[in-house]
């Protein structure tokens, strides 16, 4: 089944890839007109209209949606997601918007995997694995990079390094790659160059890591701020997308390097043929960051993978120019070497997934000899980015809303349990007019410490008696016929509702130092929820999640 999913997702990647090439060729003859800056606006507007009006799907590149669904709903994804982002991103990128086709193919592949799992009524764990297979097949196919696809799916999407995931995902990666090779030929995405790397050039990459981390953080923050700003504009979403696209088109008039997914630019940069001075390269880096933020933040459709490659390679070349400027006598390697490292740095920084960055760059350039500096740049950039932005671009929203629930974590286990299944119903209910003497008789027969108190006539929940709170009365027989339970019950008791999230209930218990809480609906006592029962079920759930 992994092979089937890999094939289909690989096919989706090929379709998008070919569509982008066709659209680019189709629009090429329009590039000399003065109004060409309107093309990205039209593309983004159409893309947004398609998502909002035709397929009724929320905009965005979709990878967080896949991770969210894997985290919370066992990888359930809508069928429409298997094609919607392919079409919308084709419109955005093909018309010149600054975005990448990788995230759209990831959600398409993942949705294909999810819907195949649904068709065969597979369980949650199997479905999540097929979602990972879809993502792996898609990345493997679009980059002709099976290892990167596999690593990306496990590191970013599934988040669980277990053989039960890795084996099918590896199969899907191979299937996706094979489909791509069959239909498009076996070519490395970018040309391979040999670099003579000495110790100086290895250590110099540390500075590049700092620059890459800065660019990653800048891109992350600009994407978010553009998103916030665009939502303050009271115009339909397609108008906003057109505004963003128009701004990109205007930038593109002066710096065409910012337009489209930019693979051609990356090729030139790796080959060291860009031939621009430091100021222009630095400006192009910043312009590409701005264009990507304008495209995606204002409602265009696409991903950040390809822009990261372009920005990374531009940052790398900028850094090479800086090195040559400050230390002209040193023997620096060709700028293509720094372009490669910059790409790995940006991917690692934005995704905070160093392995994906390393393997992707190695596979798409065939440059195994740069593996040491690649590891250094990826590791340092990820660390620096993690310090300033604790969650990656994909995970930031999910982390902020508490939606990132990786398997085997506390939040995930608690999210899979709910209040109704933990309610203890074997409680002895007493009423407020009961004498303490009668209550003592009840205590003798009971094994519980908590006793809910209900109104004798209406049955409404009034409060609770905790034996610890009334100990002084229990050991004073004089009080037995003088005290009613209504006088000694705790009426300011924290209560839970069956609809409450268990995580919130546990937090409330921790904050107030409680061991049990009554569950109350419409002023009726339903049962008790206690930490002992939660722990018991928690262990069982943890065993289920961590066993194969």
């Amino acid at each position: 089944m992994a092979a089937i999913v890999g094939n289909f997702s690989g096919l989706a990647s090929v379709v998008l890839n070919r569509s982008l090439v066709m659209m680019s060729e189709w629009l090429h003859h329009l590039r000399h007109y003065w109004w060409v800056f309107l093309l990205p606006a039209a593309g983004a507007a159409l893309s947004s209209l398609f998502l909002e009006k035709v397929v009724n799907e929320g905009a965005g590149h979709g990878v967080p949606e896949v991770i969210y669904s894997v985290s919370r709903y066992g990888g359930l994804l809508r069928f429409r997601s298997s094609f919607s982002r392919l079409i919308s991103s084709c419109l955005t990128i093909g018309s010149g918007g600054s975005a990448g086709p990788e995230a759209p193919v990831v959600i398409s592949g993942a949705a294909i995997g999810s819907n195949i799992a649904k068709y065969f009524s597979l369980n949650d764990r199997q479905r999540v694995t097929l979602v990972g297979c879809g993502a792996a097949g898609a990345i493997s196919s679009i980059f002709n990079a099976p290892i990167a696809g596999m690593v990306f799916a496990v590191e970013v999407i599934v988040g669980e390094w277990k053989s039960v995931n890795i084996v099918p995902i590896a199969i899907a990666s191979v299937a996706g790659t094979e489909i791509s090779r069959l239909l498009q030929g076996n070519q490395i995405t970018f040309s391979h160059h040999l670099f003579n790397i000495d110790l100086l050039n290895i250590f110099a990459c540390l500075g590049l890591a700092v620059l890459s981390a800065t660019a990653s953080i800048l891109l992350t923050r600009m994407l978010r701020s553009m998103h916030t700003v665009s939502h303050k504009v009271s115009a339909p979403i397609w108008i906003r997308a057109a505004m963003g696209g128009c701004a990109v088109g205007i930038i593109g008039l002066f710096l065409p390097v910012v337009l489209g997914e930019g693979y051609h630019t990356v090729k030139i940069l790796i080959e060291g043929e860009y031939g621009q001075v430091l100021a222009v390269v630095a400006l192009a880096s910043f312009a590409k960051i701005a264009a990507t933020a304008l495209t995606l933040g204002w409602g265009g459709s696409g991903g950040i993978f390809a822009p990261c490659l372009v920005i990374g390679s531009l940052i790398g070349v900028t850094y090479h120019h800086l090195l040559a400027l400050f230390w002209p006598s040193a023997s620096w390697v060709n700028e293509g070497y720094y372009a490669l490292l910059g790409m790995a740095g940006l991917i690692s920084g934005m995704l905070q997934a160093p392995l994906t960055g390393i393997f992707l760059i190695i596979e798409i350039t065939g440059g195994w000899e740069v593996i040491l500096p690649l590891i250094m740049v990826s590791a340092f950039t990820t660390t620096l980015c993690h310090y300033f932005e604790p969650a990656s671009y994909y995970l930031k929203d999910l982390v902020e809303h508490g939606h990132l629930l990786r398997p085997g974590t506390d939040a995930r286990v608690l999210s899979d349990l709910n209040v109704p299944e933990l309610i203890e119903k074997d409680c002895i209910i007493v009423n407020q007019n009961m004498l303490l003497r009668d209550f003592v008789t009840i205590i003798k027969k009971s094994h519980r410490n908590y006793f809910p108190v209900e109104d004798e006539k209406t049955g409404k929940f009034l409060g609770i008696i905790h034996l610890d709170d009334i100990r002084q009365y229990l050991f004073d027989p004089v009080m037995y016929d003088a005290v009613f339970l209504g006088q000694i019950m705790n009426t300011k008791v924290e209560v839970a509702h069956p609809d409450d999230d268990l995580l919130d209930v546990v937090r409330k218990m921790d904050m107030k130092g409680l061991y049990s809480m009554p569950v109350v609906v419409n002023n009726r006592f339903i049962g008790l929820i206690s930490k002992a029962t939660i722990l018991d079920q928690y262990r069982k759930e943890l065993m289920v999640q961590t066993s194969h």
Binding site: N56, E57, G58, G60, G62, P64, E65, Y68, S69, R72, Y73, L76, L77, R78, R80, K118, S121, D397, H401, H403, N418, P420, I423, P498, D499, D501, V521, N522, R524, I526
Partner: protein
């Protein structure tokens, strides 16, 4: 624990009729309505093996400032507490997730048509998907508020029909109403039906709750539907086929809903019986 019915509130006269229907149903079966007042025209429902995106029309967003007040008034008039569902989780940051741990859900025949278009037309694809995926039965209301005074169960002999019959027993027990069962003979005879009841140990419930079991010899199913009391809650099981399959091979559910204007309570293939 109390049973809960999910109701998607539409703040207009048609929505009022539907909510009145839900409240009446809740009163009869001892459930509490949980009302969701949509703030967007889309939301997602995650079931065990499916995710359904419900696309509402804009009439669901009518006068949001009075929606809570109007819904509360209707619920409180019936002597119940109004409870509102506030989504806590969102897919893609914008699509509210509506959880599916309810015991019933109320849907108009098509959840997304403008009220001006609503008639007995057809069951919308979203409602079909919900029926197919849900563990709870779906209450498909009549276009105008119509109190029901008896229960009718359609029993064709399938596994889903048995589920519907069990659901009928549950509603009969809660509401104190008796059941009329309708069976179109052909595939199963009267004797077969009685054997099924016996095999599933439902004889006691049959004697307790069933008023009359009607067996139709006439092959024209639509003609027989005239016998269904106009003021009965009709309970039936559904396979949950898609629209295309239904168009090609026909659907009993579609025939029933397009012929009679009664309230329907539909138990889908994943419905887990309460009894």
């Amino acid at each position: 624990m109390e049973n809960r019915l999910l109701h998607i509130f539409r703040n207009n006269p048609f929505g009022r009729e539907t909510l009145l229907q839900s409240i009446y149903f809740c009163n009869k079966v001892g459930a509490s309505p949980v009302i969701y007042i949509p703030k967007t025209t889309k939301f997602l429902m995650y079931f065990d093996n499916d995710v359904v995106q419900v696309d509402l029309d804009k009439s669901y967003l009518t006068s949001p400032e009075t929606a809570i007040k109007n819904a509360t008034e209707l619920v409180e008039q019936a002597g119940m507490n109004a409870r509102f569902f506030d989504p806590k989780h969102f897919t893609a940051s914008t699509l509210p997730d509506i959880h599916t741990n309810f015991d019933y859900m109320c849907c108009p025949r098509s959840i997304s048509d403008m009220s001006s278009k609503i008639g007995l037309g057809y069951i919308g694809p979203r409602v079909r998907r919900i029926v197919k995926a849900a563990r709870f039965p779906v209450l498909i209301t009549s276009p105008a508020f119509k109190p029901w005074k008896s229960i009718t169960v359609f029993f064709g002999g399938s596994v889903n029909a048995v589920k519907a019959l069990r659901l009928g027993f549950h509603v009969a027990r809660s509401s104190g109403m008796s059941i009329d069962v309708f069976t179109q003979t052909g595939k199963y005879s009267e004797e077969d039906c009685m054997n099924m009841i016996k095999e599933r140990n439902l004889e006691k419930e049959k004697d307790l709750y069933i008023n009359e079991w009607h067996f139709f010899e006439n092959n024209n199913f639509e003609d027989n539907l005239y016998e269904v009391p106009h003021d009965a809650l009709v309970i039936l099981g559904a396979y949950g086929h898609g629209v295309i399959k239904d168009i090609l091979f026909g659907s009993k559910l579609e025939k029933i809903q397009s012929t009679i204007s009664n309230n329907l309570l539909v138990a889908g293939p994943n419905y887990t019986t309460i009894l």
